[in-house]
Amino acid sequence: MNFAIVVHGAPYSSEACLSALNFAKAVLASGHSINRVFFYHDGAYTANNLIAPPQDETPVGEQWQAFGIGNNIELIACIASCLRRGILDETEADRYEKSGSNIAPGFTISGLGQLIDASINADRVVTFGV
């Protein structure tokens, strides 16, 4: 069965970000697939590449990166959420004449249509809210 996963919370600020990751891992471990993970609202903060948490704390953002890259799963951060929260790829950084980009590897900034498309085409959609 194919899952779409929606994440509304930022690492540390909300356990939703961690719960969604644990859920996503369990989906794959159970032999199911994930068509897309969509980071909305504060979930977009997960894609920030500059996070440097204390060594004794779980680096949730990095674990999402590794999960997405290692399993070839699309991690989409909503562009509107990202712009409001200062998460930029190079294209957006250039467009808005900002000093640099900070999108983490494994994440792609894209539009809200990706949430709808994932929701429609997945067998199940599960939201981790805040």
Binding site: E15, S19, N22, A26, V27, A29, R124, G129
Partner: protein, 85 residues
Amino acid sequence: MILHTINKLSALALCRDLISEGDKVVLLEDGVYLGLQPLPFATLAIRVDVEARGLSGRLTKQTESIEYSEFVDLCTRADKVCSWF
């Protein structure tokens, strides 16, 4: 069967009336504290969230701890998932 998830105490008020006979309810994150009080329906609480909060052995009898794998399995058996937060 519809699968409802609840992640905090205040979200109970949102869904209390919407849970039908035969639906399933998963408590996660701060929602597992609902397992301390009597509820009008049985619930399943994510074990790692229960343990992180020191609630093992403190929950009501109508709350059963489950793994993420069982949460996933419930999703596949449900017609859809409704998340309350």
